[in-house]
Subunit: 261 residues, 2 copies
DNA sequence: CGTTGTGTTGATATTAATCAACAAGTGTGG
DNA sequence: CCACACTTGTTGATTAATATCAACACAACG
């Protein structure tokens, strides 16, 4: 069978998740991710309620903690690290639908079963909520339900933007969009240090970028190389990219550039 | 400039929407769309509250009633007809992100401005809510907020499925997926009449299908022709397709088929 | 009855995928 | 410490799926 689309690649075997039930009542108070996450709608005096509902879990790099098609019993909140979210076709073709960084609430795209898989790109910490405990929490804190709706709305906006990218942008436009999106990601640029102002970190491999943008690793590599020769970017180290000409990349990402192809 | 991707096509000019403020207090009671929409969480005795918040509007075929980038002041609920939702690139390339049929709530993918445009495919009726009135309604009926979160979750699942389609499926797989999705749409098949059991109606043009699936009209047309010669479908009339071999199409849609290309 | 919009089909062009080779970095174990 | 396997990334040659360009059929419509 000659596949025209991206060939199947071996997928990391799902391994059991390491659970470390550190439910200290004050865990949420000192949580550095709170300011970025939906938890911030819960007033400080009620954080013990939140802490009681959450189980804090370590996830090793490369481990899956959500698997497409399995019963959706838990919701997660990322407190450290980053995960890739993806869907698979029967023959192994993969589409990464997003990356979940600190503060991301996971499980919105859920019916009875998970619609996607999640795998840690680096060592992670996540808070796990059972469906019933989250439901109870939402009933007690309507502001959190409202906040989740906001989050879901934002994700829908992002999903539609990604559909536009996947359906209608050229390879170069996709890479440019990806770089600009990463550069815009709060906290990704070390903006405090001017010399690093436009250096973005990429915790994912070329294969991940390819599967996120609907391309092959070769096309991703070639596009980045060409951006480099064109002076649009520099690659100071593996997993790092310096944006040298943000305006040009932004234009290209918007599909405004005539030499986009 | 030689565009590699789908060339720009003329876009229907936005024209003002026809407003017909039929706010009869009992409009919601007799609304045929209620059973399909988020409104169904509001108890019958409170329907006058709902009716007071909604303005019923007729939209002519071809008219836009939501425009990408404009301030998102209103939310809509489709009570009759169907709309296409889309995003545009600067040079006119278009991605249709979805079709909104009866019962669809529009405006979830919203920040301060609309993230997409909506244009009627056929004469429509929609209920329009101002942001403030919807907010008041949600505050009074928390079940509706909960219901909206469910709806948003389902849309996210659908969006991820569409990303998989756009990023990783072949042209034939995309068309097959589209046909099966349409056939699965509740109320689209005249299932009551056995001889029409597998006939689906398509209110959109080939151009719309192409822009929804990230293809060109020619590729859509050719794929359908080939399905026809392969006996998978029949085209009894314009805007109608009979599914002759649903199993084969379902397999192809899942990417399981070796001759997918 | 011409005009316009929609859809089909054919010929050709082009982007990005595929196939292939290799370099650099990482970890393992002898 | 080094041979070895393995992963990741880059680059080149070629192929193939789909876009583009073009012509035409047909229906709706003024």
């Amino acid at each position: 069978m000659t596949l025209t689309r991206t060939a199947a690649r071996p997928v990391a075997q799902p391994r059991p998740v390491v659970i470390e039930p550190s439910r200290a009542a004050d865990q949420c108070i000192h949580c550095g991710a709170r300011q970025y996450s939906v938890c911030n709608v819960i007033p400080a005096r009620d954080l013990d309620r939140l802490a009681a509902a959450a189980v804090n879990i370590n996830v090793e790099s490369g481990r899956s903690f959500i698997r497409e098609g399995e019963p959706a019993e838990h919701f997660f909140n990322v407190t450290a690290g980053c995960a890739k979210l993806f869907k698979l076709l029967a023959d192994g073709r993969r589409q990464i639908t997003g990356f979940a960084g600190v503060g991301t609430f996971l499980g919105l795209a859920v019916s009875a079963t998970y619609a996607f898989s999640a795998e840690a790109l680096e060592p992670m910490r996540v808070c796990r909520f059972s469906r019933s405990k989250l439901r109870a929490l939402l009933d007690d804190f309507p502001a959190m339900e409202q906040r989740l709706l906001e989050v879901a709305s934002n994700e829908l906006v992002a999903a539609q933007e990604q559909m536009l990218l996947l359906g209608r942008k050229t390879a170069r436009e996709r890479i440019a969009s990806f770089l600009i999106a990463r550069a815009t990601l709060p906290g990704n640029c070390l903006a405090s240090e001017p010399q690093f102002a436009e250096i973005i970190t990429l915790p994912m491999t070329r294969a991940d970028i390819a599967d996120y943008l609907g391309l092959t690793i070769e096309t991703v590599s070639r596009s980045l190389t060409r951006f480099k020769t064109e002076g649009l970017i520099e690659i100071p180290a593996a997993g790092e990219i310096r944006i040298c000409n943000r305006a040009a990349l932004t234009q290209m990402a918007a599909g405004t550039d005539a030499h986009a192809a």
